[in-house]
């Protein structure tokens, strides 16, 4: 008697992906989104007339090729413009500039250290090798290591075999990558501080760890596993902003018959006798479905949307123990003209790529230290792009938007609240960046500061964690989000999770959405639904 085969709560890119796959398989799907904009944290919003912000996520590289292929996304005008370079200005006026031009990059690194230039080639090869070896894990349903079920045993055997086929050296290298800190790992390869700092930065994005924290080398690889047109590691952004990605997936979903409703916040998931059968909106409207798929993080899903009695104390405890501490913020700027960096004056290719404020490992580590004790970094790490340089549609002619990812901004502040301190964070970011681009303050037309609190309030990300849960070793793979529940299913029958809180984790990948949908379809086929 259900109206729909499946209801997807949350039109983030994973929820939309799950909906698209289910719809494509012939299911009647309804997606319910709280906001007026679809896309979750992958959205484009025009908050200042004429200027488009990728409010939250700002780059893409990990978007699964199988999703692009299977949902035929290019048909809906998805175009990803590669970011070809990373520019790291230094306080002393020098800089580090790396790009897709290998020869030029080599010469540039050699300026700092000849040995590092040599090592860089070899390092790149190792990482690509490693990424290729580990990539299949992104598309894999994690086997349950404590179970005797044939399916799991087979999955474990396959996993074991995959590791064995890596060969000894690569296996050990992978084991080290999984457990080392990015600083320690990079110390074994390079000597140039600014190079190591810039590289280690990808190991700390979205984490509550510093470059010297064990477990950050792994995230280095996570971000290295992206591919665009078969070229590993390249990052890019979508023409029209990150919202394009969500729009395109939404279009694919609708094309297959899915219904998507915005401004339809879900209040409660309805459960009867341990089985989910519908949802209640904030308006009071009840909608029934045979399957409920939540694209929301597990804390919100289980601890806010479900009657506490329906879950065991043990499971609730596990969900409460799921670490989801946000450490990132965003500052989006509308600019009257381009910023002028002292380290590379004027207009140049460096403005068409990523700009990293990461002059040394100590700099990032100190930024992290402050956050540990409840303060935002006085001199934050920043990852910056100017999408309007390569995509003029993002701003009026001659003007620009600047997207600044900031770390660290801990959700839990020791003094004050985020609404009180939002602008102080914005000022800190602008002040710090102005040290490298002194004309910055003169050209700012508009500024948006998105704190972890804002990420929670507006975008539904508990504690502002951008990955719907920290990517620490105890919360990955068969332990994500919670031990024993790593296959998109939950203790409630017919209730599934499809967000980044599931394997393979965060980043705009759409992998979770796809894997969740496939598991749901599997259960349907076996008549379990």
């Amino acid at each position: 008697m259900a109206n729909y085969d499946a209801i997807v709560i949350g039109a983030g890119h994973n929820g939309l992906t799950a909906a698209a796959y289910l719809a494509k398989a012939g299911k009647k799907v309804l997606v319910l989104e709280r906001r007026h904009v679809l896309g979750g944290a992958a959205v484009t919003e025009e908050l200042y007339p004429g200027f488009k912000y990728s409010v939250c996520s700002y780059v893409v590289s990990l978007l699964r090729p199988e999703v692009i292929r299977e949902l035929d996304l290019p048909k809906y005008d998805l175009e990803i413009i590669p970011l070809d370079s990373t520019f790291t200005p230094m306080p002393n006026g020098d800089c580090l500039f790396r790009s897709g031009d290998h020869a030029r990059t080599r010469r540039e690194i050699a300026r700092h250290s000849a040995a590092d230039a040599e090592a860089y080639e070899e390092y790149g090869q190792l990482m690509v090798h490693m990424a290729m070896a580990v990539k299949p894990l992104l598309a894999m349903i994690p086997p349950e290591p404590t179970s005797w079920y044939p399916g799991d045993l087979f999955g474990l055997a396959r996993l074991g075999n995959r590791f064995r086929r890596l060969g000894e050296k690569l296996f050990y290298d992978l084991a080290k990558l999984m457990t080392m800190s990015s600083a320690d790992f990079l110390d074994q390869w390079f000597e140039t501080d600014v190079l190591k700092a810039t590289m280690s930065a990808s190991g700390i994005i979205g984490t509550f760890m510093g470059p010297r924290s064990p477990g950050t080398a792994y995230v280095l690889l996570h971000h290295y596993m992206g591919e665009l047109d078969g070229a590993f590691r390249s990052w890019g952004f979508a023409r029209g902003g990150m919202g394009t990605i969500s729009r395109v997936i939404a279009d694919a979903a609708r094309c297959h018959g899915a219904e998507i409703r915005a401004q339809a916040p879900v209040d409660q998931i309805l459960i009867r006798r341990g089985r989910a059968y519908g949802v209640v909106l904030a308006s009071g409207e009840e909608i029934d479905a045979r399957v409920i798929v939540s694209g929301i993080d597990p804390k919100r899903t289980f601890l806010k949307m479900i009657d506490a009695q329906c879950l065991s104390a043990e499971f609730k405890k596990q969900v409460s123990g799921f670490k989801i501490r946000g450490s990132s913020a965003k500052v989006n700027l509308s600019l009257d003209s381009l910023p002028d960096f002292t380290s590379m004056p004027g207009v140049g290719p460096h403005l068409a790529g990523a700009i990293s404020i990461s002059p040394s490992i100590d700099y990032i580590e100190q930024a992290y230290d402050e956050a540990k004790y409840g303060e935002f970094s006085r001199r934050p790490y920043m990852d910056i792009i100017l999408p309007s340089v390569l995509d003029p549609s993002m701003a009026p002619p001659g003007k620009h938007v600047m997207s600044i990812f900031v770390q660290y901004a801990p959700y839990d502040l020791k003094t004050g609240s985020w609404p009180e301190r939002r602008e102080a964070l914005g000022d800190t970011v602008v002040d710090t960046l102005s040290e490298y681009a002194p004309n910055l303050k003169d050209i700012i037309l508009h500024r948006q500061v998105v704190t972890p609190w804002d990420l929670e309030q507006e975008f539904g990300l508990t504690e502002g964690n951008i990955f719907q849960g920290e990517l620490t070793l105890d919360q990955l793979f068969f332990l994500r989000p919670v031990a024993g529940w790593a296959k998109y299913r939950t203790p409630i029958k017919n209730l599934y999770l499809c967000g980044a809180c599931t394997h393979p984790g965060g980043g705009v990948m759409a992998a979770s959405g796809r894997l969740a949908a496939l598991e749901i379809l599997k259960d349907t086929r076996f008549g379990l639904l």
């Binding site: 404590t146 457990t179 320690d184 924290s213 670490k323 100590d362 068969f478 332990l479």
Partner: protein, 527 residues
Amino acid sequence: MANYDAIMIGAGHNGLVAAAYLAKAGKKILLLERRPIVGGIAVSEEIFPGYKIPTCAHLAGTFSKKIISDLELERHGLELLPLSPLLFAPAHEGSGLVIPRELPNAAQEIARHSKSDADRFQRFCELFKRLSEFLATLYQAPLPNKANLNQFHLAKFLELAWKFHRLGEKEMHDFLRILPMSIADLLNEWFESDLLKGALAGRAMLASFVGPRQQGTAFNFLHHQLGNSSGALPTAGFARGGIGRLTEALHDAAKSYGAEVRSGAEVTKIITAKGLVTGVVLKSGEEIRTERIVSSVDVKQTLLGLVEPTALDPHFLLQVKNIRSRGTVAKINLALDGLPTFSSGDQAALGGIIHIGPSLDYLERASDDAKYGRFSKRPFLEITIPSIADPSLAPAGKHVMSVWMQSAPYGLRESNWYAEREALGDAVLDTIEEYASGFLNRILHRQVLTPLDLEETYGLTQGHPYHAEMALDQIFFMRPIPGWSAYQTPINNLYLCGSGTHPGGGITGLPGYYAAREVLKNWRSKK
């Protein structure tokens, strides 16, 4: 012509254990020790007349009971004394936290700080006792051995899988999850009292480069529950007559099996030919030929210092160089004119571990300093006063105090350890004074061992008591080097058996024991 079946280098506790087992198996062993006394870091030295000071290590509760039994160490004079109380964590204000031996009393004490913590403490101890026992079982797992690639122990692997499953689903998940966690996250899940969390986390902190918030520290916590432990804290540790009695007993045991031990005999070179050991050269110039060498000296010093660089493949050498052993500890040894008076606890509380680190944040801040090449002015301190349980260690009414301090990084950025030794000592003693007013007046003698002193005195690279950091990427099949965790090296018949090998540091004796077993196994199947 080789008189000895094997020459062993380094008479630290692991070297002595290995020598004893090999001698017991009938092998003719010569053990060479650089210092005039044997014992490595587990020594008692009368550096102040009348006081028997544990100059380096001060607790040996983690020592393997099996080894004690196999080598009959009790017959040779080893008596491990129980800690009572287990721990005292002073506070700046209000009452400190005392954790007595008996669980009901412990619950009572903890309840003064948090009722819910008291309720959970027993369950915590029980769970961690089981998990650490499984870890000990896991340590026995055969590890990859590049020198002997054909070995695969299916039976052992299945046995382990079976033992793992015996934990039950929940505890299997707990184990997998807890192993890589940070001890701070783990303790925050269980407890609310800062003092309790700080006290428990301290057990994971000694010689750790990273603070309690970092991943891998929960593993360190589990590792330190080996031997005598309640699951949360060590329950024994002092040896009657001083910690040196452990190594003296080992020494006696080794000798009783026929091993020859020579102190004041420093090995300066290991000679090899065509990938095989041929002998050692001593500082005196004496050369002793042998077919087999077992070194408990730190891996880097053995392979980079004693062996000629041309004898090893450059790639292997690079891996050895990359072993991280960043020293972060210093030792302060004191003779006291009486017991200190802590504002937050009685003198009756001082018989076990005295832990200065009143919260997780305090410990984390103390570890931050090492990253920037400076020593902590608000350090984490692990203190014992062994003369309380064993008055024979000091003159009547007087006491011995042993203090491990963290962080004191080996590589100081702005200065050097010669210049900073006394400032370090002052910082430590001033910290104690904050909790025990009048303490400074009780000090009769003081010895400060900086990381540099620890390195020079005990042969520890960078003063690291575990030889190599016990980080997640330097344990199990990755210790000391991936693929080489079965105590062998690319040089035939050159073995390693110190703390830098599996399963690592902490005075367990296990590296020596497992290495000896490996040596004997290969002996039988020697070509």
